[in-house]
C-alpha cells in the first residue's frame, strides 16, 4: 500500500447496495512474465454493483490485471477472490468463476463461423445446459437490448465494428454474469462507432451491473464510474472518485497521463 | 540382420563419399540457380509484359502439377528426340533447377504480393526506377517473409535429388543401389543412406537458417520472422 497516493487510502464512496460484501477482492497480487514484473502488489476490493474504470499508459498492467480475474492469465502470488470463490488451479472453480464473470475484448473475438444468434446461444446451451428454444429467446432478448435484433442470422464478418462489439456484450450477458469485465472495448473501433458501444455500457451500468472497465473514455468514466483507478508500471498509483480524480489528481504521473489524454 | 551385416556396407565408404559429394553438388547448384531464376520469374510474372506473364504462369503451373520423376525422364530420355542430348548429371541439374524455379517463383511471388502497395508507391515517389524499386525495396522484405517456406522447398529439392539415381547419376541413392546389389545387404544399405540423408537434411536446414539470419533478415528484421 505504500505506493498509493494519499487520496487512495481514503474510503471511496460506495454504492448503497454494496453492503453484501466484495464482488472481487485482490490481495497482494504479483505476476511476472519471465523477468518482467507486470503486476506489483495489487490490492483492490470491488463491491457489488460498483463500477470501476481503470486507465493508464500501455504496458501498465491494466489489461493483465482484469485478465487475471477470470484466469485468462495466471497470477503467481497473492490471492484473487471472485464472488466468494478463491482462484486456484482447481479447474472446477475456474469454470464456476468464468460462468459468473462476463468479458468483452478489444477485438470482440466473436466466433466467425457461427451466426450472431449462434454466438449468443453457444454458452447457454453447452455450459448452462439450456434447451435451444429457451436459449434462442434469451439471445433475442439481449439482442433487442443492444438494439440489433435484425442481425441475428448474419455472420460476424458482415457487421460493423460497433455492432460486433455490441454482439460481444450481448453474448457475455446471455450467461447472466454477476460481474462484467471490459478490456479496452472501444479502442479498436472507428470514432463514429464508439458512442453506440458506450451507450450500451451506460445502460448496463444503470441496471446495477458490477463492472470493471479498462478504457480511456474519460467521459464514460465521469458518467458512470464509482471509482477511477490509474495504473502505471504494474502498480495502482491512484484511486479516487471520478470528480476528485479528474479535478484534483494527487500523483505526478497521474497528472502527466491526464494532461496527455485530455489536453488537446 | 545384425551389426556385422552393416560392416559390408561401411566397407564401401569411398563410394558413399562420392555419392554424398554428388548429392551435395546437385543440391547446392540447383538451389542457387533455382532461387535466382525463381526471383527473376517472380519479377517477370508481376511486372513483365503480358505475354511473358502468361508464359511464366503456364510454366509454373505445368511444372508444379507434374511429377519430378516424369520431368527428369522427359528431359533425359525425351529431349534427345529434338536433338538435345544431355549427359545424366547435366540433365539432373537442368531438371532440378527447372523444377525448383517454378516453386521458388510461386513462393517469392506470394511474398511480394503480401508487401503493402504503399511500399512501391513510396519508392516510385522517391524517384526510383521500377527495377530499382523492385530489387531494393520490394524484394528484401518479401524474401524475409517467405524464407521459412523457401527453406522447406530447398530441403525438398535435396530429397528429390535422390530420384536422379533413376537416370544413373552417381549420387547417394544410386550408390545405395550399387552397394545393395554388390553385397546383397539391401536393407542395411538403404538404412545407412537414409540416415545420411536425414543428417544432410538437418544440416542443410541449419545452414539455410544461418544464411537467412546472415543475409536475408539482415539488420532490418522487422517482418517475416516469428
Amino acid at each position: 500500500m505504500s505506493n498509493l497516493a494519499p487520496s487512495a487510502a481514503l474510503a471511496p464512496a460506495l454504492p448503497v447496495s454494496a453492503s453484501s460484501g466484495a464482488a472481487i477482492e485482490l490481495v497482494g497480487v504479483n505476476k511476472w512474465y519471465g523477468e518482467f514484473h507486470v503486476l506489483k502488489d495489487i490490492n483492490l476490493r470491488v463491491h457489488r454493483g460498483e463500477r470501476i474504470v481503470i486507465c493508464g499508459p500501455s504496458g501498465s498492467g491494466k489489461s493483465t490485471m482484469i485478465r487475471c480475474i477470470n484466469r485468462l492469465e495466471e497470477h503467481q502470488q497473492g490471492s484473487i477472490i471472485v464472488d466468494g470463490i478463491e482462484l486456484t488451479n482447481d479447474l472446477k472453480r475456474i469454470d464456476e468463476i468464468r460462468r459468473e464473470v462476463g468479458m468483452c475484448f478489444q477485438h470482440f473475438n466473436l466466433f466467425p463461423h457461427l451466426t450472431i444468434l449462434e454466438n449468443l446461444t453457444l454458452a447457454p446451451i453447452w455450459v448452462r445446459k439450456m434447451p435451444k428454444k429457451d436459449a434462442d429467446e434469451l439471445a433475442m432478448h439481449f439482442l433487442r437490448k443492444v438494439k440489433i435484433p435484425e442481425q441475428a442470422n448474419k455472420y460476424p464478418g458482415q457487421l460493423s465494428g460497433g455492432q460486433q462489439q455490441r454482439v460481444a456484450i450481448a453474448r457475455a450477458l446471455c450467461m447472466k454474469p454477476k460481474i462484467m469485465l471490459f478490456d479496452e472495448p472501444t479502442s479498436a473501433l472507428d470514432p463514429e462507432m464508439v458512442k453506440e458501444v458506450l451507450e450500451t455500457m451506460v445502460s448496463l451500468a444503470e441496471e446495477g451491473m458490477t463492472m470493471l472497465c479498462v478504457t480511456h473514455e474519460m467521459g464514460f468514466a465521469r458518467q458512470v464510474a464509482n471509482r477511477v483507478i490509474f495504473m502505471d508500471a504494474g502498480q495502482i498509483i491512484e484511486m479516487n472518485e471520478p470528480e476528485a480524480f479528474f479535478s484534483n489528481p494527487q500523483h505526478e504521473r497521474t497528472k502527466l497521463f491526464l494532461s496527455q489524454i485530455l489536453g488537446h | 540382420m545384425n551389426l556385422s551385416s552393416f560392416i559390408d556396407v561401411f566397407h564401401s565408404w569411398p563410394s558413399l563419399l562420392n555419392g554424398l559429394a554428388m548429392t551435395v553438388m546437385l543440391t547446392l547448384v540447383s538451389s542457387f540457380l533455382g532461387v535466382v531464376l525463381g526471383t527473376l520469374c517472380a519479377w517477370g510474372s508481376l511486372r513483365g509484359p503480358k505475354a511473358l506473364r502468361w508464359f511464366i504462369r503456364g510454366y509454373v503451373e505445368f511444372f508444379r502439377n507434374t511429377p519430378f520423376l516424369g520431368q527428369i525422364f522427359f528431359i533425359f530420355f525425351g529431349l534427345p528426340a529434338l536433338g538435345v542430348k544431355l549427359d545424366p548429371v547435366t540433365a539432373a541439374l537442368v531438371a532440378l533447377t527447372i523444377n525448383l524455379t517454378a516453386y521458388a517463383c510461386e513462393i517469392i511471388r506470394a511474398g511480394i504480393e503480401a508487401t503493402p502497395a504503399g511500399q512501391f508507391e513510396a519508392a516510385s515517389s522517391l524517384g526510383l526506377k521500377p527495377a530499382q524499386a523492385f530489387f531494393l525495396v520490394i524484394l528484401p522484405p518479401a524474401f524475409q517473409r517467405v524464407w521459412p517456406a523457401m527453406t522447406s522447398q530447398l530441403v525438398i529439392i535435396l530429397l528429390a535429388s535422390a530420384l536422379c539415381s533413376q537416370i544413373s547419376v552417381a549420387e547417394l541413392s544410386y550408390e545405395a543401389n550399387m552397394i545393395a546389389s554388390r553385397t546383397f545387404r539391401n536393407f542395411e544399405a538403404y538404412i545407412v543412406v537414409t540416415v545420411i540423408y536425414l543428417g544432410l537434411a538437418v544440416l542443410f536446414r541449419e545452414m539455410l537458417t544461418w544464411v537467412g539470419r546472415r543475409f536475408v533478415y539482415g539488420e532490418f528484421a522487422t517482418v517475416g520472422q516469428r
Binding site: N70, R71, L72, D95, R98, V101, G102, M103, F105, H107, N109, L110, F111, P112, H113, L122, A123, W126, V127, Y155, G157, R171, A172, M175 | E61, F62, R64, N65, T66, P67, F68, L69, G70, F73, F74, F77, G78, L79, P80, A81, L82, V155, L159, A160, A162, L163, S165, Q166, S173, A176, A180, N186, F187, Y190, I191, T194, Y197, L198, A201, V202
Partner: protein, 214 residues
C-alpha cells in the same frame, strides 16, 4: 518399325490412370487416418506425445521418399512378410503423406487466433468444447487450401511406385517408351495427363476455397 499412333500411346497411358488415382486415394485416406490419430494424441497429451509426433514428422520429412520406399519394400521382405509392389507403395505413401498432413493440420489448429480460445474460455466452455465447437470448425476451413496442395503432391508422389515395379502412369509410360522408341511422345503425353489430373484438383480446391469463405 513404328506402328504406334499418338492415339495408341494415349490410349495405353489412359488405361493406367485408374491405378494412379487408386493409389493416390489409398495414400490420402491412409495418411489422413494416421495423421488424425497422431493429432488427437498430440492435442490430448501435449506433454507426452508432443515430442514423439514431432520426431515422426521430421523423420519422414527429412528423408527421401525413394529411400523410404526401398526400406519398406526390402524391410517387409526381411521380416518374411509376403509383399506386393502395390502393398509396399500404399503403405509407404500413406505414412509419408501422414507426416505432411500432420504438420499442416497441426499448423491450421495453431493458426486459429488466440482470442477465440480466450473468448470461449471466458464464456466457461470446457477444453473439449472449445476444441470441438470453436477451434476445429475454423481450422477445418483454414486447412482446405494446403490440404488440396498436399493432394496434388500425393498424386505426383505415386509416380515413385513405378520404381518398385507397380504399373501406374509413370511405369506405363516407361513401358510404352521402350516399346515404341518414342520417349518424347510417351513422356510428354504422361506429363500432360498428370497435369490434367493435378490441375483439376487445384482448380476444384480454388473453387471450394471461395465457397467456404465467409
Amino acid at each position: 518399325m513404328n506402328d504406334f499412333t499418338t492415339w495408341d500411346v494415349f490410349r495405353n497411358l489412359l488405361a493406367a490412370v485408374p491405378w494412379t488415382i487408386y493409389l493416390s486415394l489409398i495414400a490420402f485416406a491412409g495418411g489422413a487416418v494416421v495423421s488424425l490419430l497422431l493429432l488427437s494424441l498430440r492435442f490430448a497429451f501435449p506433454r507426452v506425445a508432443g515430442t514423439p509426433v514431432r520426431l515422426y514428422v521430421q523423420l519422414f520429412q527429412g528423408t527421401p521418399l525413394l529411400m523410404q520406399l526401398f526400406l519398406v519394400y526390402f524391410g517387409l521382405a526381411l521380416m518374411g512378410v509376403q509383399t506386393t509392389p502395390l502393398f509396399a507403395a500404399s503403405l509407404c505413401l500413406s505414412v509419408y503423406s501422414s507426416a505432411y498432413l500432420t504438420e499442416t493440420w497441426y499448423g491450421c489448429v495453431l493458426a486459429v487466433p488466440k482470442g477465440q480460445w480466450e473468448a470461449s474460455s471466458s464464456l466457461g466452455l470446457k477444453h473439449w468444447q472449445q476444441m470441438l465447437l470453436i477451434v476445429l470448425p475454423q481450422a477445418l476451413r483454414l486447412s482446405v487450401p494446403p490440404t488440396v496442395g498436399l493432394m496434388v503432391q500425393i498424386v505426383k508422389n505415386t509416380s515413385l511406385a513405378s520404381i518398385v515395379g507397380f504399373v501406374e502412369l509413370t511405369r506405363a509410360s516407361q513401358i510404352i517408351a521402350n516399346a515404341t522408341f518414342e520417349p518424347f511422345l510417351a513422356y510428354g503425353a504422361v506429363a500432360f495427363i498428370y497435369f490434367v489430373i493435378c490441375f483439376s484438383i487445384s482448380l476444384c480446391g480454388r473453387h471450394l476455397e471461395k465457397r467456404i469463405r465467409i
